[in-house]
């Protein structure tokens, strides 16, 4: 059920009608402008790890909710990968029923506090919101965040009714958004769930990748707590493939099904000279040190991190923005971002690019590193880049970046962070050779997350390659449906949507 999104008409018509025209017929009062989310000013926030936007007050949320015109055929819902009931939850906010609004969202999205913060709304729900045609779309993300926060901070989180326990046990490998979704869905249906997580903390990229200033870890902990209250068991420090294989989970440990949600955790490097110098990090290492191991609280926390005076981040996605903004907060004097396309083509969320620019990240666009140069003690000194220009559009529809022959420049730098994406971690494939993967190592599944192996399912980044939180959750939900049908003996054909 993939939804192709047509590019939304941009704001050509945003200008209001010229005021020299005398009002002929009485007009509707102008729609109030989209609510701005108050946030920490850039010069303050680059010195701390506290979340940047403060969130809306109940009054602000109700004002914003009142902007929604409650479309009969809401376009916004079509833009959301999990079809959150957007007009319904917004109406509840408007009437002041905040906790109910949160429950409404949770019918389709179990992590609203996360998605409200990290979904790329401008290419999803808000892109298709009808108000965006003539002005600014409803701030759906802000509202989603608001009611989830209201519910959490007010202690209003209620445990939904669970179905009577059945006798089926399901193992979940990986506690990222995909795994958490499967755990939530299936435990409500009465299954006994066990999550196996490689790290000593749960949440996947939500804890080791996305920084505190964008997604406070307390939120992820609350979500995990909630699952534990639902009866989900979490076994940390279990690297499946090493301490147990997928097959052993099914045979020796007696699980009826196994879900694989291990993410895409194999850092890509540029494969250029100098990449193993001291002072070159993968984004995964840099962010894991800072977030999961809390190197920003060093030495209270014992894991060190190189700070760097002049930092160069390579890449243009969310990961690159997170690295650049983390470097600023760790006290670097200057942070540059080298990206081979133009700013409009950055895959990062618009808000992150905007925040990064506000904070003074120096964008070195249309350029790409060709060599990292070190001193004789093996420490990074400079990075050599080639200039690029934009050519014809490629398969992704973005104009292809082309190197300009002979045009190079060098930047002085003592820390380089490579944030150009992840490939599939080969551990599961290596230890479960009969699971089918594509040429990039991603696990192949059907519409309901079924792999070629009986009673083994997968979703999230290990299936799609690096994507988004909400798409990992959407995939998890499908897989939960697949697991439920297969374990209950329900045939796909017998179910009509």
């Amino acid at each position: 059920m993939s939804k192709k999104k047509s590019p939304a008409p941009k704001k050509e018509n945003a200008k209001q009608s010229p005021k020299d025209k005398p009002a002929e017929k009485p007009k509707r009062p102008p729609r109030p402008p989209r609510t701005k989310m108050p946030e920490q000013p850039p010069d303050i926030r680059i010195k701390n790890f506290v979340e940047v936007p403060y969130g809306l007050t109940p009054e602000e949320a109700q004002l914003e909710a009142a902007r929604c015109i409650q479309c009969k055929r809401p376009k916004c819902v079509e833009g959301c990968p999990v079809s959150v009931q957007i007009p319904e939850f917004i109406a509840l906010i408007k009437d002041g029923h905040f906790a109910e609004a949160a429950s409404k969202i949770k019918e389709t999205n179990v992590l609203p506090a996360v998605c409200g913060r990290v979904c790329p709304q401008e290419t999803q729900c808000e892109e298709t919101c009808i108000l965006g045609r003539r002005g600014e779309p409803v701030a759906i993300g802000y509202l989603e965040r608001f009611c989830a926060d209201y519910e959490r901070l007010g202690g209003h989180i209620k445990l939904p009714k669970k179905k009577r326990p059945n006798d089926k046990k399901v193992a979940i490998v990986g506690s990222g958004p995909a795994g958490l979704t499967v755990a939530g869905d299936l435990s409500l249906l009465g299954y006994k769930l066990t999550i196996f997580e490689a790290f000593h903390k749960g949440g996947g990229v939500l804890v080791y990748g996305i920084p505190e200033f964008r997604l406070p870890k307390e939120i992820v902990e609350t979500e995990i707590n909630y699952l534990e209250r639902l009866g989900v068991e979490i076994k940390y420090n279990h690297v499946i493939g090493m301490c147990k294989s997928i097959n052993e989970l099914l045979t020796k440990d007696g699980f009826d099904a196994v879900f694989i949600g291990v993410g895409a955790g194999l850092p890509r490097f540029l494969n250029i000279p100098g990449e193993n110098l001291n002072g070159v990090y993968s984004a995964n290492e840099y962010l894991t040190r800072s977030n999961l191991m809390k190197a920003y609280l060093y030495p209270t926390y014992n894991t060190p991190i190189m700070k760097g005076r002049k930092v160069t981040v390579v890449g243009g996605g969310n990961v690159a923005m997170d690295c650049a903004r983390t470097a600023l907060r760790l006290g670097s004097d200057k942070v540059m971002l080298v990206y081979r396309r133009a700013r409009e083509q950055m895959p990062a969320r618009a808000e992150e690019v905007h925040h990064a620019a506000e904070e003074g990240i120096d964008f070195r666009l249309l350029s790409n590193p060709v060599e990292i140069i070190g001193d004789d003690t093996g420490v990074v000194k400079r990075i050599k880049c080639q200039k690029y220009q934009l050519g014809e559009p490629d398969d992704s529809g973005r104009r292809r970046p082309l190197p300009i022959e002979g045009e190079y420049f060098e930047l002085e730098t003592d820390l380089v962070i490579i944030a150009i994406g992840n490939n599939a971690n080969p551990l599961i494939k290596a230890t479960t050779p009969d699971i089918e993967t594509n040429k990039w190592g991603n696990i192949i599944v059907d519409e309901f997350g079924r792999t070629n192996k009986n009673f083994v399912y997968a979703a999230g980044d290990i299936v799609t390659g690096g994507a988004t939180v909400i798409s990992a959750m959407g995939g998890g939900r499908k897989a939960a449906t697949g697991i439920h049908r297969d374990l209950m003996g329900i045939k796909d054909e017998d179910v009509q949507d």
Binding site: V239, C243, P267, N276, M293, I305, N425
Partner: protein, 285 residues
């Protein structure tokens, strides 16, 4: 929770630790390691698995910096925050013929499972261990029991050969010993020197690298080493690599990455400063 069932200081600074972890006990193969965290603030420390018994496994830990110090300062009955494993590829083991093994510092313990497995496979095992002085040698009886020949070197000459593993190795080879395979575990210097010695004699040589690590599952790339010009991750492609093809120069440089920070952490360890933590997190409420 991971209970410490046995712990004592074998020789000054080297601690034997036995921890309950049924998965590791059931699965560990020679050459694999575990990652330990003493508490929530600790680094993730990779440590070689030396032996397993029932649902426990044994390690030898050298106290170096803050995170290893925290572990060795725990007592029997205490529980570690995290124990993950087994990790890494098992060591290459086969019937080679005559095999020489070298171990120094924690490698004296870490070489043991290899010696035992190689012996069981029908190899003749020659083991050499090194320490600064005689009182720092440990685990000798156990090693002798699985070795056909056993040699000791001490830097101060208080026992065995005056010098290092490589000095014994050179002497054996000069005296006409022929080895079909070699493995070394210990400090990077020793492994490098020994690899340089076996190289001209074309003795296939494996070394267990102890790079800096973080996750230990191939996710971060911090353990990368160049082997034959190719980047490898020590935690998943190793830790055992061909000693004749490791880029030793790069490895040495990468290992010193955090020297200053580690000293700071050690010095400031005992007092966890809440005010500082607050200042860092910007939480001034």
């Amino acid at each position: 929770m991971y209970e410490i069932v046995e712990k004592y200081e074998e020789v000054p600074n080297v601690h034997r630790l036995v921890v309950r972890e049924p998965n590791i006990a059931a699965k560990a193969q020679p050459g694999q390691f575990a990652i330990l965290m003493a508490d929530e603030q600790s680094e993730r420390v990779p440590i070689s698995i030396v032996d397993t018994k029932d649902d426990t496994f044994t390690m030898f830990i050298l106290e170096l910096g803050i995170s290893s110090a925290k572990i060795v300062n725990m007592k029997e009955g205490d529980t570690l925050e995290a124990v993950t494993g087994p990790l890494g590829m098992p060591a290459d083991l086969g019937k080679y013929g005559r095999v020489v093994l070298g171990g120094g510092c924690y490698g004296i313990g870490a070489i043991y499972p290899l010696a035992r497995a190689l012996k069981e496979l029908g190899n003749e095992v020659v083991t050499i261990i090194e320490a600064r002085s005689d009182y720092l040698l440990y685990f000798q009886e156990e090693l002798k029991a699985v070795s056909d020949e056993f040699f000791v070197a001490t830097s101060d000459g208080t026992e065995g050969t005056n010098g290092h593993v490589q000095d014994v190795l050179v002497k054996l080879i000069r005296d006409g010993e022929r080895f079909d395979h070699a493995k070394f575990i210990g400090c990077t210097y020793m492994m490098m020197n020994c690899s340089h010695i076996t190289s001209p004699y074309r003795i296939p040589t494996k070394v267990a690298l102890n790079t800096i690590m973080l996750d230990g599952t191939g996710m971060c790339g911090c353990c990368r080493v160049s082997v034959e010009g190719e980047t490898k991750f020590a935690c998943v492609d190793g830790p055992e690599f061909d000693g004749h093809h490791v880029d030793w120069d790069e490895l040495m440089k990468r290992k010193s990455s955090y020297l200053m920070e580690e000293m700071l952490a050690y010095q400031t360890a005992p007092h966890t400063c809440k005010a500082l933590e607050k200042a860092y997190s910007g939480d001034s409420k």
